[in-house]
């Protein structure tokens, strides 16, 4: 091949690679536009104030009501429950793996966490029905254990690998000199961990938590299968709830194209998008802060 042809190829492929980069931006832009477009179409028919402050979600009733509050409260309730379980367990496990576990134990624990991350959400949701549900029913005397608590336990399992992996990275990234200084003044391993290493890794650990929250808010299958999906205003952990994700999953398959109900599902998807975006941006902010802090 002569040089001119080779250089032509070079230029063409450079353009091709650059185009794929533009397409990636277009995909995110497309998702964003789709949500905005359909949400606007929804707000033409239903006022945004009714949507945000409405306490009833009943799109198929004779007097259709599109209040998002019960869905947002459900999602928040299940996510808070999941974090109450996953944050202490996740940070404890991360600290154990990086500070106490020997090399052999590490070689077992790290793949175990990766394995947990690899299990499909639908399989975890299934176990929510056949293992966690009957367990909660036996403890509380309810007919079935399909409630917010069940969803919270499952979401904790889903969020744990994220939290453990990122928190462990953060703890590992604390310079050895910090620990040595602490040992040097007579602190033992536990005191060093609690008073030196974890505070130094704090921004990274907060990032881990925020990314875990993002994961939990956006999770669909586990909550769809395990929380019972009663569409009433949530009353607590021992009652059935219906999250934003579950509502979209249940109703999208049944609504006619481009009806108010159809647009409404995109509007709650937009709210879901904003909630996960906020959690992920907060996570990213703390990751960057952690990096800067240790680069200095």
């Amino acid at each position: 091949m002569n040089t001119r042809v080779r250089e032509r190829y070079d230029a063409v492929f450079k353009l091709l690679f650059k185009t794929t980069g533009m397409l990636v931006i277009a995909v995110l832009g497309g998702i964003f536009l789709m949500l905005v477009w359909n949400t606007v179409a929804f707000f033409i028919k239903v006022s945004p104030v009714d949507f945000i402050t409405g306490t009833q979600w009943n799109p198929s009733g004779s007097q259709a009501s599109y209040g998002i509050l019960p869905l947002v409260v459900s999602t928040t309730l299940v996510t808070i429950g999941a974090m109450l379980i996953a944050i202490p367990l996740g940070i404890g496990t991360a600290a154990f793996i990086s500070e106490y576990a020997g090399k052999r134990l590490k070689n077992f624990l790290k793949p175990a966490v990766e394995m947990l991350a690899a299990i499909p959400s639908v399989a975890i949701g299934f176990l929510g029905i056949v293992v966690v549900g009957p367990g909660i029913a036996a403890l509380t005397g309810q007919p079935n254990g399909l409630n917010a608590l069940n969803g919270a336990v499952l979401l904790a399992v889903m969020a744990l690998p994220t939290i453990v992996t990122i928190a462990e990275d953060a703890i590992n990234a604390v310079p050895a000199s910090y620990r040595e200084a602490s040992y040097g003044v007579g602190a033992n391993r536990w005191q060093t961990l609690v008073f030196v290493t974890i505070p130094a890794a704090a921004p990274g650990i907060i990032a881990a938590i925020m990314l875990g929250v993002g994961r939990a808010i956006g999770e669909t299958m586990t909550v769809l299968m395990a929380t019972g999906n009663v569409s009433a205003f949530p009353k607590g952990f021992f009652h059935s709830v219906r999250t934003i994700t579950a509502t979209i999953a249940i109703e999208m398959g049944e609504v006619p194209y481009q009806t108010t109900h159809y647009f409404a599902l995109f509007a709650i998807a937009a709210v879901l998008f904003l909630m996960t975006l906020a959690a992920n941006l907060a996570g990213e902010y703390f990751v960057n802060r952690f990096r800067k802090y240790h680069a200095a």
Binding site: E7, Y9, D10, F13, K14, L16, F17, K18, T20, G21, L23, V24, I25, V27, L28, G29, I31, M34, N38, P88, G90, G92, F96, I97, A101, L109, V113, E114, L116, A118, I119, P120, S121, V122, A123, I124, G125, F126, L127, V130, V131, V157, V164, N188, W190, Q191, V194, G218, T220, M225, I248, M252, G253, Y257, A269, L272, F273, T276, A279, N280
Partner: protein, 282 residues
């Protein structure tokens, strides 16, 4: 006031307990699926279609459907993702354009899978009129996989030493030739590891295929790309929540869950094997 030594022991014990609980979660998931799924698993189960309203028979169509969608996902997302990663790592300087691409990738990886399902419905099923089909579902999963493939590929490209590129350019290769003949072959094991791990995630996803083509029951395994299809994760969801005789089909649901788990574990082991073999070559 407890002594320093007791405190340290208690602290260690609490952390051990946390780690034990996480391992217990994994253990109970694996133990339950294996002990209750294994008895219902047989050659017939994975080699025949469902019969008598799903209460007997196997899940062959679901296995075929999952393999087909995953292949489409790979055909779409791998070239797309690898090309984008090449642009980011080999060509792009730190401009506002490349920062915008990176920000998009980070955002896309945080978008909930159900929103990908909606996007697939709006873009592929309705917009491009592909209907609810294997093709729509595969493409939707492809979009979901894209950010992971780009991130892992870029990581693999970054590990190729700059000296190799410089050597190729010094011998008179164009930048594209240096990428095609030197950089990509060197990064291939890393790229493959990332691709296989990403595909294993895509194969287990349910939410994005809910509205883009998965069906509870279809007869036969035609393999046509414009038809609705059965998929392992969706089948498990339907068997465990929507079937009329839920208690009766529970063993089948367990067996389906176990097959799905085995598929995912095999894909993960493949990825580990590629990574391990490559490490030995270094």
């Amino acid at each position: 006031m407890i002594s320093k030594k007791t405190g340290a022991f208690l602290g260690w014990f609490v952390l051990l307990l946390c780690t034990g609980t996480v391992c217990f979660f994994l253990g109970i998931i694996l133990a339950d699926l294996i002990t209750k799924g294994w008895p219902a698993l047989s050659w017939e189960f994975i080699s025949s279609g469902p019969t008598e309203g799903m209460t007997t028979g196997g899940i062959l169509p679901a296995i075929v459907g999952t393999v087909l969608t995953t292949v489409i996902t790979a055909i779409f997302a791998v070239p797309f993702g690898v090309c984008c990663a090449i642009y980011l790592n080999e060509y792009a300087k730190d401009t506002s354009f490349s920062r915008l691409i990176r920000a998009s990738i980070r955002n896309l990886s945080g978008v909930p899978s159900i929103i990908y399902g909606l996007f697939g419905l709006a873009l592929f099923v309705q917009g491009l009129s592909l209907g609810t089909s294997v093709l729509s579902a595969g493409l939707t999963l492809g979009l979901l996989s894209l950010p992971y493939i780009i991130t892992t590929t870029e990581e693999a490209l970054r590990r190729v030493p700059a000296s190799m590129r410089e050597a190729a350019l010094g011998l008179g290769a164009t930048q594209f030739e240096s990428i095609r003949d030197v950089v990509l072959p060197a990064a291939l094991p890393g790229i493959l590891t990332g691709v296989v791990l990403t595909l294993s995630r895509a194969a287990g996803e349910t939410a994005p295929i809910l509205f883009t083509g998965a069906a509870f029951y279809i007869t036969g395994t035609s393999g046509a790309l414009n038809q609705e299809f059965m998929a392992l994760p969706y089948h498990l969801y339907m068997l465990s929540t929507q079937h009329q005789a839920i208690e009766q089909v529970r063993p089948l649901a367990y067996a389906t869950a176990l097959v799905l788990l085995i598929v995912i574990v095999l894909l993960n082991l493949t990825a580990f094997y590629i990574r391990y073999k490559h490490r030995n070559n270094d």
